[in-house]
Amino acid sequence: MGSKFKFLKINPKWCLGCKNCELACTSRKAEKSSEYEIKTNIYVTEANNIKSPIHCRHCEDAYCEKICPVNAIKSNDEVVYLDSEKCIGCQMCEQACPYGVISMSKSISDNSNKKIASKCDLCLDRQKNNQSPACYSACPVKAIELI
């Protein structure tokens, strides 16, 4: 990869399902936003007794990017990110994501029904400050790796 940013890689073998990554993701968001409900962008799941977080893969030719009618989702330096100012809450990206890791957040600042998409931005703000993504830092068993 040519990006200057680090990406997540999961090793399900190590995951114990403690959900620390989910908590870290939402905690970081809670520090930043008060207008929309806080949603995690990494989800710990369990199937066939295997626990594993699922997360945004920042796909090449990302479906979410292609389908967004207002170009609120863009790629830059291999990171697929959402411009929440532009988002109109149409849910197309949520439906298009093959991993099911985009969700909708309702506005909590007024009584409107406005929603916007919520997706992983790889903690770019943290990475720019030489910090790791919050979920990676929070994983006690290093089931999340950075590549």
Binding site: L16, G17, V44, T45, E46, K51
Partner: protein, 642 residues
């Protein structure tokens, strides 16, 4: 996988989904995945430097911030579970002992000594001289001797420990330093030694756990025996079980929890208020049904039908035909309040230490219990008028149950065959192999296992191998609901030889039919009955408990009480099968102690096996092994076993 072995419950589970009501199974799905650190017992929340977690894989921390390693953390967490289980069972016993004392002193009119013979037998067991004493004096001395087990300062063992086990077992416990002298101090001891920076030696912590678990045993002996004194010793009784016992034409009141002090009064008062219910339009009057161990208590003594055991307690409300659920302590899901609010059902809490928000709290203490029980039943009758007939759905299935097999009633039955040595017929049949051995099933339901499946699957396999089954608590509930506690079950499932014995016993008991192949011995505090029978057999044979072809199993364990029961059962020398690993997976040392070191020390040990068929085979193997060691199984070699 279905949720319940008994599919008749499915209509209510579907009903809940249609009505958007979450049940225990839905909440479990939402909880998944559950935290692996908690599952392995390697999360320590004991001090505020933490929480600390041990990385079980290698790269991360191997010790907590204070330096405690996985063994210390797992052992501490485990013994704290034991302490909680012991506290629960022993407080149950203490409440009953206090009531008995108040009866003796004439301080309550609501209770009296119902079984004077049992009282005298207890006095004899506890070495209390009864000569020339009044019933009240004996009652007071029995109550005080029992309460002494909660408060003794001297280092002598508890009365209910030293007088209920074999001599050799008591010696083993004394030599190991775990012969408990005081129940409450053992709980305090666990909380104190597991405080940050105190006991860090996992083995020493686990030994304290054994000692504390014996407090659970002592509390159980007190609960069973003093309840029998107050409310009567169970005798075989015929009743019914499963949700089908809820009667559409009656005011239905469920009693749920563990303590018979309350449910007995409710049953008494309901009899008096029958007419009032009929006047309100319920042509069959008042129908009391049981849930969990309160249900078992009133089933055994009063023949009250048992509606459900632990995991399907919510479904009783979903029938839409339950006017009131009256709860006391332990194993009561707080969800009941929310579910009751979707129906006309009123949930009543009755104990000062067990309130649930959303429930109506009407306290039933010794002084006002009769008066307040009337208030509850009156309210239930009012609620009947508010029942929405369109929301009623009662599963049809119910099974016939023969319950009430106290140790006394079994011995009484056997004495019809041999008056001089009542245990001889049972010993003869064990020796000649008609009864290969005995398995005592106990413990809970767990949402992680299909409800009752392990109990039923294991029982069928064991019975087919001529192994007699005793059951208590939610295990007994599982067998009652699923048609294993009646004579038909003997025809269907018992091996040929076991069938012959049960038929003979049934005949001697004056029944035209065989005894059931699974004997209902009571609630989860009544595991003491199984021990009494085992001790009597061991004494008759001149052996210790670990030599008997007797095994215990809790294949669907859930509560902390199950952990403490399992621990004392192993401590008194019996192998204990459990259907899932408790939160000890993070410490190989702890696993080794529980599954093998304990065997070397005390004869009893834990066997973990999730698959019920494999588990049954393992128990059959252990029973064979014990029979070979006793010299009554000439053909099998230990190496061929398992």
């Amino acid at each position: 996988m279905g949720n319940c072995y008994d599919t008749s419950n499915n209509c209510l589970i579907n009903k809940a989904h249609d009505e958007n009501i979450d049940l225990v199974w839905d909440r479990y799905e939402k909880m998944k995945p559950q935290c692996g650190f908690g599952e392995m017992g390697i999360c320590c929340r004991i001090c505020l430097k933490g929480p600390c977690r041990i990385d079980p894989y290698g790269d991360g921390p191997k010790e907590g911030i204070c330096g405690a390693d996985a063994d210390t953390i797992v052992a501490r967490n485990l013994v704290r579970m034991i302490a909680s289980g012991t506290a629960s069972h022993s407080l149950h016993g203490k409440e009953i002992a206090k009531t008995l004392l108040h009866v003796a002193k004439g301080e309550t009119d609501n209770y009296k000594v119902k079984d004077i013979r049992k009282l005298k037998n207890i006095a004899e067991k506890l070495n209390i001289d009864t000569e020339g004493k009044t019933i009240n004096q004996i009652t007071e001395e029995v109550a005080m001797a029992s309460l002494m087990d909660y408060s003794r300062l001297e280092n002598t063992p508890c009365n209910w420990l030293s007088n209920t086990l074999t001599k050799s077992r008591l010696k083993k416990l004394t030599d190991l330093g775990v012969a408990l002298n005081n129940i409450e101090s053992s709980v305090t001891d666990i909380m104190s030694r597991t405080h940050m920076g105190t006991d860090a030696d996992a083995i020493n912590i686990l030994l304290a756990g054994l000692k504390c678990a014996l407090g659970d045993y002592v509390g159980m002996q007190i609960s069973t025996n003093l309840s029998d004194t107050l409310f009567g010793t169970p005798e075989p009784i015929i009743s019914e079980s499963n949700l089908g016992v809820i009667n559409e034409n009656a005011v239905n009141i469920a009693v749920h929890g563990h303590n018979p002090l309350l449910s007995e009064i409710i049953v008494d008062v309901a009899d008096e208020m029958e007419e009032e219910a009929i006047k309100a339009g319920a042509k069959d009057g008042i129908n009391i049904v049981g849930v969990c161990c309160t249900g078992n208590e009133v089933l055994l003594r009063r023949g009250i039908p048992l509606a459900t055991n632990f995991l399907s307690q919510e479904l009783a409300i979903l029938t839409g035909a339950l006017e009131a659920m009256v709860v006391d302590v332990q194993c009561i899901m707080p969800s009941l309040a929310k579910i009751a609010s979707c129906y006309h059902t009123e949930l009543f809490t009755t104990m000062p230490d067990a309130k649930i928000s959303g429930a109506t709290h009407i306290e039933l203490n010794e002084k006002n219990s009769v008066e307040n029980a009337r208030v509850i039943i009156k309210k239930a009758i009012e609620k009947y008028k508010m029942r929405d007939k369109n929301k009623v759905l009662i599963p049809k299935r119910k099974s016939k149950v023969i319950a009430g097999f106290s140790t006394e009633s079994i011995i009484k039955l056997l004495s019809k065959i041999d008056k001089e040595r009542p245990l001889k017929p049972i010993i003869d049949n064990i020796v000649n192999g008609n009864i290969k051995g005995v398995v005592l099933f106990a413990g809970c339901n767990n949402v992680k296992i299909m409800q009752d499946n392990n109990f039923v699957t294991m029982a069928k396999k064991l019975l087919d191998n001529n192994i007699l089954i005793l059951a208590t608590g939610c295990a007994a509930g599982a067998y009652a609901k699923n048609e294993l506690m009646n004579s038909e079950a003997t025809f269907k499932y018992a091996g040929e030889k076991l069938k012959e014995v049960l038929t003979l016993l049934g005949k001697e008991a004056g029944l035209d039919v065989p005894l059931p192949p699974v004997l209902h011995m009571g609630s989860c505090v009544d595991n003491s009955r199984g021990v009494d029978l085992a001790v009597a057999l061991a004494n008759e044979l001149g052996v210790d408990l670990d030599q008997l072809p007797l095994v215990a199993s809790a294949p669907e364990l859930m509560s902390e009480k199950a952990i403490s029961i399992g621990t004392w059962v192993a401590t008194i020398g019996l192998p204990v099968h459990i259907g899932m690993l408790p939160p000890v997976g993070g410490s190989q040392l702890t696993i080794d102690v529980l599954t093998s070191k304990l065997k070397e020390l005390l004869g009893g040990y834990f066997i973990v096996e999730e698959n019920p068929i494999k588990a049954a085979n393992k128990l059959i193997g252990i029973i064979k092994e014990k029979r070979v060691d006793l010299g009554i199984e000439p053909t099998a070699k230990p190496s061929e076993v398992v």
